[in-house]
Amino acid sequence: MSPTSPNAFEVLCQTRTRPVVTAEFPSFDGGTLDDIRAAAEKLAPWVDAINVTDNPAAHAHASNTAMAIALTQLGFNPILQVVCRDKNRLAIQSDIVGVSMFGVQNICALTGDDVTAGDEPEARRVYDLDGPQLVKVATIMGTGMYLSGRKMKTAPHLFVGAVENPTAPPLEYRAERALKKVDAGARFLQLQIHYRPEQLEAFMAACVANGVAERAAILPTVCLTKAARALSFMNESVPGISVPAATIDRVTTSEDPKEESYQLVRELAEHALSIPGVAGLHITDFRHDDSVRRLTEDLAIGPRFEEQHAHSA
């Protein structure tokens, strides 16, 4: 990939000729480049870009920068997630300019779960920048300078995005906060995993009204799980995610919880894609089987369905 021209994910986010599909790459705690390749080959045919996470849920894993560089060198298209929790503005800027030299272009800015969500709650939290500020800093870097104003040798081509949580209070403010990030330079928004279709609808309506949905590609997120236990865990332990009791019951009382878990996600995804202003889907996968493929095939979305959309367009 040429480091200076827009990558396929960026082009699709802007042209929106078909739904954009992204998925989260698994975390690594060691292994080899071959392991990374094998995991990427499982996902890549079905998605337009792969998110590499930055110490998700405040647990240390192989670094976001190392994984993004590896994926790029192996010929895949990563989205580098950057959280504000672990590094100050100097370290974050050096990470971004560093990966840009390897051809990494897509940057997704997050505030990040607190250290207390992880297995090292004694760690010092940083938050030298917050999420919206990080969006702006990455956007500034795309013009060829650091936050300090110091010029870089060449301006990195960066495609900057962010996240937003359509189901966390204050619900009526979330689209405004998304607008703040879009004003700061975000051109795609990957949303937090949701189990509340009606709240997603309200959020999207507000994002259509304030222009966010037009200016940024909004990708609601669904989470592939195997059993009700995963839903209860998310409800209780993951900051910002709530799962209605009825949803958990539906999976618990079903004869085939694994299949029911899939059907639940399929319905959530189908519904999300039907909402005006939605540009695509982001998928997180805790099933670790072939469900990403199954979901994209069932919904007829992703790079494999390029032609079908071209004909219908």
């Binding site: 503005r89 779960d113 030298d128 966390a168 910002g240």
Partner: protein, 126 residues
Amino acid sequence: MGGLLPLIEHGMKKPVWDCRMCGQCVLHSTGMTCPMTCPKTLRNGPCGGVREDGHCEVVPEMRCIWVKAHDRSQHMPLLPRSWREEFDHLRPPVNNALQGQSSWLNLLNGRDRVTPPGWAASEAHA
């Protein structure tokens, strides 16, 4: 920076707003709710971790500072309209060099509005 002013400011603002003496006060734009009391010290909250009941991800027994700030910026009586509107502004990164100084002094001499040149340049473009 020593002097009496920071002591007086802290003496007045600590009991009312739990002031952390960041030296660049933005209380007026955040519904008179100090963002430095957010455990993540976010200047542009609320983060995505707010609990369903509106409480903080980090301190579950505490109502989210930013839920409170949003609510107050909308509903607090006597808050000027321009202050309410400022809630939506993107507040720049904290200047950590001002920590401990009097924000009153920095307001008067303009130091609380100085942003890094890269930030200032992008604002000029916007």
